[in-house]
């Protein structure tokens, strides 16, 4: 079986046209891979480009050069050059993402937000909903919130909805952007447990964890992003 995620020679900069076109280099020569059943954690100080790197892998950020190779349904897809339709197919079936903040859709109930990745893949609505409820229960989201749209939830509640949504599928690759940032100790422990289960199921995980305790429990390997940063020599 090929390695689920291989990032090679990736470079990224932002050109700020509204600031006289100045060019901000973010990273260059990024190279690492994530094996099945492994949790790789991106390390380095804030602002070094960790979140940017996750967004590049997910396709939210374009890259200037290099390759992001994903094993998608038995074939290799280069997300750096794939067309939008391919990226969406990869996200639907292979590549999951738990973002730091939930982007809420008006009027959609929390339980449906969580169930959506399953229904998008053709799972029957009732089954998807039952699975979503089980996820929310496990993450201790009060039952009376399940039918409400998450827009008015607290930060920690929204984050749990986000985690449930990201973990509900059996995607082979999962990207985690500080999934435990606003959680209490009990729920942090639940997430650590869920990550361990994903690893046991052979999922390749790539994440950012500022919480040292969580990082120590989940990380198999730390990739230091400052090694790819143009600022490392300036600092």
């Amino acid at each position: 079986m090929p390695t689920p995620l291989v990032v090679s020679e990736v470079a990224k900069s932002f050109t700020m046209h509204l600031r006289d076109g100045i060019r901000l280099p973010v990273v260059s020569n990024v190279a690492f891979s994530v094996k099945a059943g492994e949790c790789v954690v991106l390390g380095g100080p804030s602002g070094i480009g960790k979140s940017s790197l996750l967004k590049m892998v997910y396709g939210n950020y374009a890259v200037d050069s290099g390759q992001i190779l994903v094993d998608h349904e038995g074939r290799l897809v280069d997300l750096a050059t794939a067309d939008p339709r391919t990226i969406l197919a990869v996200r639907r079936a292979t590549l999951g993402y738990v973002s730091q903040f939930l982007r809420t859709v008006p009027r959609v109930a929390a339980v449906d937000v969580v169930a959506e990745p399953l229904t998008a893949r053709g799972v029957a609505a009732a089954e998807a909903k039952a699975t979503a409820e089980a996820m929310l229960a496990r993450l201790n989201l009060p039952r009376e919130l399940w039918q409400l749209p998450p827009a008015t939830f607290s930060g920690g509640e929204q984050q749990r909805v986000n985690i449930a949504r990201g973990f509900i599928t059996d995607h082979r690759i999962l990207l985690l952007d500080e999934p435990t940032a606003s959680l209490d100790a009990t729920n942090r422990a639940v997430v650590v447990e869920m990550i361990a289960e994903k690893k046991a199921a052979g999922v390749a995980l790539l994440g950012i964890f500022h919480d040292e305790d969580v990082r120590e429990k989940v990380a198999d390997r730390i990739v230091d992003v400052s090694a790819f940063s143009p600022r490392k020599s300036a600092a």
Partner: protein, 258 residues
């Protein structure tokens, strides 16, 4: 996933005399895909939409559409009768102003039923039942079926227009600022409804909007237009999170945060 595009657009240009409406626009639209065309007023997005939907004759370029039998047909080579039939059955067109897409002096039920009759449905009871179902789907109470849209609020009219368009199970829907002119709570309801319908029915849609939040919520892919030209396109969240062109960066940075 189907392996053939529904719509193939090649080098569409429209000039109004010497003035550019839109220029050299090319793209493929795939089944189930929602494309948003964004840009400020006068950027050519509505001109482009009208050229695609055969409401305007492009000056040059071609638009091909895959018919239900799988054949790709060049729209400019179709007879007027064929085009009209396509418009009434396999396509929908949602106007910004519902009065442009509805018949204001006939009942809500008849507005929905009319399109059904265009595809050959003749049984009054069936038509009324289907119309009633569709009113329910767009959250209009069935006891309003005999009222004229004149008696409806703006949001209800827009939902009725959507029901009228979707009742024939079209494969492609064009929308021109579908949420423009509605107040925000009505807009949210309409967006949620559209999102659900597009998902459930597997519709393809092309949505013209100047509202980037609408584009983010509804579309998979996005094209940014300026002065009649597509200056940037790609996956919707890529364009919005990492805009590359100066004009797109300006648009994205101009969004008000709540």
């Amino acid at each position: 996933m189907t392996d053939a595009p529904l719509l193939k657009v090649r080098d569409i240009s429209k000039f109004y005399g010497a003035r550019i409406g839109c220029q050299n626009v090319s793209f493929d639209l795939w089944p189930g895909e929602v494309l948003a065309i964004v840009g400020e007023s006068g950027s050519g997005k509505t001109t482009l939409l009208n050229c695609l939907a055969t409401r305007l004759m492009p000056t040059s370029g071609s638009v091909e559409y895959r018919m239900r039998d799988g054949q790709m047909r060049d729209l400019s080579r179709m007879s007027e009768a064929e085009r009209r039939f396509l418009m009434r059955t396999d396509w929908g067109f949602v106007h910004q102003n519902p009065a442009d897409g509805l018949r204001m002096a006939v009942s809500a039920g008849a507005n929905v039923g009319e399109r059904l009759m265009a595809v050959g449905e003749r049984h009054y009871g069936n038509i009324r039942e289907t119309a009633g179902n569709w009113l329910g789907r767009v959250e209009i109470s069935v006891d309003r079926i005999d009222d004229q849209p004149r008696a409806f609020s703006g949001g209800m009219r827009q939902r009725l227009q959507i029901a009228r368009n979707l009742v024939t199970a079209p494969r492609l829907v064009f929308m021109d600022e579908p949420t423009g002119g509605l107040d925000v709570s009505v807009q949210a309801r309409l967006l949620d409804l559209l999102r659900g319908l597009v998902q459930d029915l597997g519709l393809s849609a092309i949505i013209v909007t100047h509202d980037l939040a609408v584009a983010r919520l509804l579309s998979h892919r996005m094209m940014v237009m300026k002065d009649g030209v597509v200056i940037e396109q790609g996956l919707t969240d890529r364009v919005l999170d990492d805009p590359r062109e100066a004009y797109t960066q300006l648009l994205v940075s101009s969004i008000l945060q709540v």
